[in-house]
């Protein structure tokens, strides 16, 4: 059964969807070869001192429930295909945040034989958070900025779902 809505209804529905997305984005964390430094800082952001959940962000396990993919570390040969698969399993629209120097440029691991490169050589990235590792405040700032850019409206926001290289 298909329901055809009037234009105004459609608009209202889009607004509700955007409102819900901004107020409670769910995030999934994938470590594609990180040293653990960024990972423990991401975990620290959900614990009482920093408490990312007050922005409605929830870390959870399945890519199929996630809006934001938080990536750490350079991409290793072993993790490349897994990273792509996790990205493809996420429903649209999806956003990717690269956390840490390694995720942005390969960092200290440039030139290691097991490292393919950085995150945006494998999947498109929407926000970069630099640091080795970034402080929890920086991670929160990055996620909040990403949420702010979503408010600009559907035309301007660069949603995911681009073809994977």
């Amino acid at each position: 059964m298909t329901i055809t809505l009037g234009e105004k209804w459609n608009e209202a529905l889009e607004q509700v969807k955007l409102w819900a997305r901004i107020n409670s984005p769910w995030a999934i964390h994938f470590n594609s070869g990180s040293c653990n430094g960024c990972d423990i800082e991401i975990l620290a952001t959900v614990t009482p001192r920093y408490d990312l959940e007050r922005f409605g962000v929830k870390l959870q396990g399945s890519p199929r429930h996630a809006d934001i993919l938080i990536c750490t570390g350079p991409v290793t040969l072993q993790a490349r295909d897994r990273l792509k698969r996790v990205y493809e399993q996420m429903p649209d629209p999806k956003f990717v945040v690269a956390v840490g120097s390694c995720a942005i440029s390969g960092g200290a691991f440039q030139g290691c034989y097991g490292v393919v490169g950085h995150i945006d050589q494998v999947i498109p990235v929407d926000a970069y958070i630099p640091g080795c590792p970034p402080r929890p405040e920086a991670i929160i700032d990055g996620v909040v900025k990403l949420l702010g850019s979503l408010k600009k409206g559907p035309e301007e926001q660069r949603s995911g779902g681009e073809e994977v290289k």
């Binding site: 964390h29 994938f30 470590n31 594609s32 070869g33 990180s34 040293c35 653990n36 430094g37 960024c38 990972d39 423990i40 800082e41 991401i42 975990l43 620290a44 614990t47 009482p48 001192r49 959870q60 396990g61 399945s62 890519p63 570390g73 350079p74 290793t76 040969l77 072993q78 993790a79 897994r82 996790v86 960092g107 200290a108 691991f109 030139g111 290691c112 034989y113 097991g114 490292v115 080795c132 590792p133 402080r135």
Partner: protein, 365 residues
């Protein structure tokens, strides 16, 4: 005949899984809810750091090796520095050695509190997870104040340390430790008396002392099965000869014992840090190191938070090392998961795995 036809049912977990923050793949063969076999597949975080050290000079390697693991970064840098200093024949000043030990013990505190939270989270005890991570911020603040960074402290340089502890800093460290000690006493009470929690830990993942020795376990995991194995006591390095620690042993051999041993080690760390702060030797922080290291090879062993960390370093007399081999504690302890999984419920698997405090990025390098 019926039995032969029965197929094995395999539960694959990973590499991306909600239980741990790092990628690792596990396959559990199950009969109903009971596990009948377990295999581990590692290597998702293999970056090839050992080979990469051969392209970088001795000083650059310090920063690369520190990034083998973000949780025990100081241990890696310290093991490497101790090895290179031994090769070069340089004696590090006692004040630098003592500061290295202070930071190593602080790292143990942060690592054990982190583990306590993660292991409690696996048991579904999220309140303890949140509490222990809240208190862990105290030690993170101390580390940040002392070294300038929360995670990769980069305290070591070849021939000494970069940071100094003055009286004011020592006072703020003491204050933080007082708070932590009080909280740790509470955690010890929780993990030994909370009835619900004990049902998840008591008797789970049990190993006898003989089994633990045969599996080659190291670190707190081995000490929880009454295996007296601690590099800090057996072969004291840095300042552990002047400021000794006592080995924490437990005869339990199960998950509860692993909780108790790690928490009791925290008290030992608080004590030894206070002792060093009171009697910090005076003197220089660094010694001059040659740019080229004399030809030769050496091993250096230290006790990382997870167990014995082993470095083999070979120099050809040049500006770069010829070979560096790292053996981390996690590779030994993985035998515990495959060795004790059989016969347990599937739901106990995350607990047994978390109980050995796995570190995939150390292990895969």
């Amino acid at each position: 005949m019926e039995n032969e036809k029965r197929e094995k049912f395999i539960v694959p977990i990973g590499p991306q899984h909600p239980a741990l923050k790092e990628p690792g793949h596990f396959e559990f063969t199950v009969d109903g809810e009971t596990v009948t076999g377990a295999t581990v597949r590692l290597g998702y975080v293999h970056r090839g750091i050992e080979k990469a050290t051969e392209d970088r000079n001795w000083t650059q390697n310090l920063y690369l090796l520190e990034r083998i693991c973000g949780i025990c970064s100081h241990s890696h840098a310290m093991a490497y520095s101790l090895g290179v200093e031994k090769l070069a024949g340089v004696t590090v000043p006692p004040r630098a050695q003592a500061i290295r030990q202070v930071v190593a013990e602080m790292e143990r505190i942060h690592s054990h509190l982190l583990w306590l939270g993660v292991a409690a989270h696996e048991a579904g005890f999220d309140t303890l997870f949140m509490f222990s991570w809240r208190d862990r911020e105290t030690i993170m603040d101390i580390l940040e104040g002392l070294t300038g960074n929360r995670v990769n402290y980069s305290v070591n340089v070849l021939g000494g340390v970069k940071v100094d502890i003055d009286a004011e800093r020592a006072d703020s460290i003491r204050k933080g430790l007082d708070l932590l000690e009080e909280r740790t006493r509470h955690y010890l009470k929780v993990v030994t008396t909370d009835e619900t929690f004990l049902r998840r830990t008591r008797g789970v993942g049990f190993t006898t002392t003989e089994q633990a020795e045969a599996l080659g376990l190291v670190g707190p995991t081995a000490r929880a099965a009454n295996v007296a194995r601690d590099v800090r006591v057996d072969v004291p390095y840095v300042a552990y000869a002047e400021f000794p620690v006592t080995m924490t042993l437990d005869t339990g051999g199960d998950l509860e014992a692993r909780f108790v041993v790690r928490i009791k080690e925290l008290f030992e760390s608080y004590r030894v840090i206070r002792l060093i702060l009171d009697k910090l030797p005076a003197g220089d922080l660094t010694m001059r190191m040659p740019r080229r290291i004399k030809e030769g090879e050496t091993v250096s062993r230290i006790e990382a938070p997870r167990g014995e960390l082993f470095y083999f370093i070979k120099s050809g007399g040049g500006e770069k090392p010829e070979r560096i081999k790292v053996r981390t504690p996690s590779i030994n302890n993985f035998a515990l998961v495959t060795g004790t999984a059989v016969g347990h419920q599937l739901a106990d698997m995350p607990m047994i795995l978390a109980g050995m405090d796995p570190c995939f990025s150390c292990n895969d390098r």
